[in-house]
Subunit: 454 residues, 2 copies
Amino acid sequence: MKNETTIPEELKKRVLEKIRPDASERTRLLAVQVELAEKVNRAAETLGIKAVFAKMVGSAARGTWLSGTHDIDIFISFPEETSRADLEKKGMAVAREVAKTASRIEDRHAEHPYLNIIYKGFDIDLVPCFRVASTSSLKSAVDRTPFHNEFVKKRIKGLEAEVLLLKQFMRGSGVYGSELKTRGFSGYLTELLVINYGSFENTLKAAASWSPGEFIDLEAHASLSHPDPLVMVDPTDPKRNVAAALSLDKFCLFMASCRAFLKDPTFEAFFPVPVKPLTEAEISEKIKARQSAQLALSFKTPDVVEDVLFPQLYKSEQAAVTLLEEYEFSHLKSGVWAGKTKTIILLELISNKLPKVKKHIGPPVWLSSNAEKFRAKYEKKEDVFSFYIEKGRYVAEIKRKYPEAATLLKAKFPDCPLGKHIGKSVRQGFEVLENEELLRLEDPGFRIFLKKWL
Amino acid sequence: MKNETTIPEELKKRVLEKIRPDASERTRLLAVQVELAEKVNRAAETLGIKAVFAKMVGSAARGTWLSGTHDIDIFISFPEETSRADLEKKGMAVAREVAKTASRIEDRHAEHPYLNIIYKGFDIDLVPCFRVASTSSLKSAVDRTPFHNEFVKKRIKGLEAEVLLLKQFMRGSGVYGSELKTRGFSGYLTELLVINYGSFENTLKAAASWSPGEFIDLEAHASLSHPDPLVMVDPTDPKRNVAAALSLDKFCLFMASCRAFLKDPTFEAFFPVPVKPLTEAEISEKIKARQSAQLALSFKTPDVVEDVLFPQLYKSEQAAVTLLEEYEFSHLKSGVWAGKTKTIILLELISNKLPKVKKHIGPPVWLSSNAEKFRAKYEKKEDVFSFYIEKGRYVAEIKRKYPEAATLLKAKFPDCPLGKHIGKSVRQGFEVLENEELLRLEDPGFRIFLKKWL
């Protein structure tokens, strides 16, 4: 797809005015960073932990943060030879010492425990890590981050605004963020795209004609192949794909957004008009217009972070679909939504009812032993509607056990593979809502979700 | 499947008493045959047609006819060098001369025209044929029959009763007859099975463990392979499969019947209790119990013989199923029934309604030219419910054109490939009946058909 449009400078300027931190924001952020780094170094000293000091990483450290994003990552760097147990114990001790003056403290857990604090209005992660010599001797996934930081800092000079535009454009398109909920583009991936293509505009023009398997290797050092839609070989680690978390649909959505924007570059592409929740009347009317069957599985949102919740939620969604298909209910689509209190798996079916009669197809007649067992079981059975041969196989028209989808879900969903936390929540209690009963789900967030759905 | 039961002699005797023609029936049949043969020879003489004479073929000629079956085939045999036009003209002239004293005369047509008459209570086909030297020089399909007759007559002596038992058993099982309606076993095939296996009982024991591709070649001279479930190489023609007309389901039904009978040999297997038509109350109750959707396409039975009607009817049945599946209606089963005045294609669906919304799946997003054409067409279209990306493809949720199966059939069935005569009949007018409306079809034959269906 050739597209020679140039994105108006005026538009970029207008967007940058909103997203580029001004001098005072930069100064404040840098001051807090320096302050925290000093706190880390002092805490290590106080606790008598040697050769441990702060490393600043993340967009805040390389000048590519979006204004208003008050996220700071401070890594607490331990010598490579430290044991895992020591890293966790001593690292958290340092973090807790630093956190003493924070306004909120929260223990979090990725591969290792870390601390999330609110300090002077900033959202700060204090993350213990190993100071390894190269990415070939990583001891933990987070040890990679300082290398990313080094690589980007060396190459990004002068391109910061391009990165900001791309990040904001991805936000507007709904593809920004590599968390397991979004499965979109990470900040680091965005920076590497700009480094590779040279500008925001060039990235969009290239992406408009990507296809799955798109391959970028800045250092020409790839040592593994990857089955992902986009492969951005990590310049600091030849085995790793930076875009591994990107889903096919987010990859495609970004391509589609690039094409639409290049055809018609608007401010709203960066800052879309917020979607309003559907009203009750609208929900009701749309459900009636579709004449399909809406089914919502609703249960208490488990008290875990989204990166733990969403993989389980996608797994549970798939389990519900598999269960329905196994019992011959055809689905149009499925989706998930998680609010503070309730989590919903939403399913749209061709129909929530099936006939009482079910065609039960038996073995081929010529596999005589199995075939005659099947016949003995079904031919004269009282509640068998009829018994015949079709395409060489015995067929028994039997009574369907679950002619209603809601009854099936109520009976069988708790036994599906749902993941640990969702499984527990569902077994503690869940509801199945049909069609108009969806009106009982009053969370505005869910009604925004319904806007796209119905 | 091993089964060492022996069929009780007493049972076979009891059946044979009902089906073996007694002395007086044999005498009458032979007398009529001789009489007709003489009439043919005399007619040829009268009309001055030379070297033409009668040949007696069929079960009546070889002592394997079932009592009460008053069918006689008389072939009017012309020299090989006769032209097709002459055969038809002169053959029919002879037949008409013979038919002068018949109580009913009907012109019929297979590959060539022939005459069907009722004479002294017998149903007689007068069939002109070529007298060829061997089956390698056949000029018409019927020319093969005299060869079959010769082969069987030579080998069947002493096995006639076994053939009668097998024929009657096949009748009882619903697999006897190779017409295009039944697609079962022909009389000739039955005779060859008995010749091959040596007896009625041995045939049943062998058939109980047949499997598709079963191959019998009495003369060990097969020169072609056949994709049919049963291959009985014609002993008079190495290229031909005598069982070519046998469908997979009738092949399997016969196997299943053999197994059931060997396990429990009953008189009723030969003479099943006639099925009574369902009453209105029963039809109504069964339709309600199934909770599926019954749809009947009803039209005037075309005035053609069954061998012409049924291939068209099966084709039309398939066309209706294909049409419904194309528009996303799932069917449980389909069937056909033809009475004197009405012909019915019966369809059982999961549901006769579908949602208004239809998922229309577009091209993969990376095929940019097609994908963007699809998007331009659907994304902003007024009656599109929603537009999104799924599994890398654009999806538009559009309005379904035919959410009701009956409406679809009314609109599109006449344009389906239905065959000449059914196409004409349907285009002259047809009805689509749903569920309880089936009660309007009052023919007892149809209600017997419903007995197995519902």
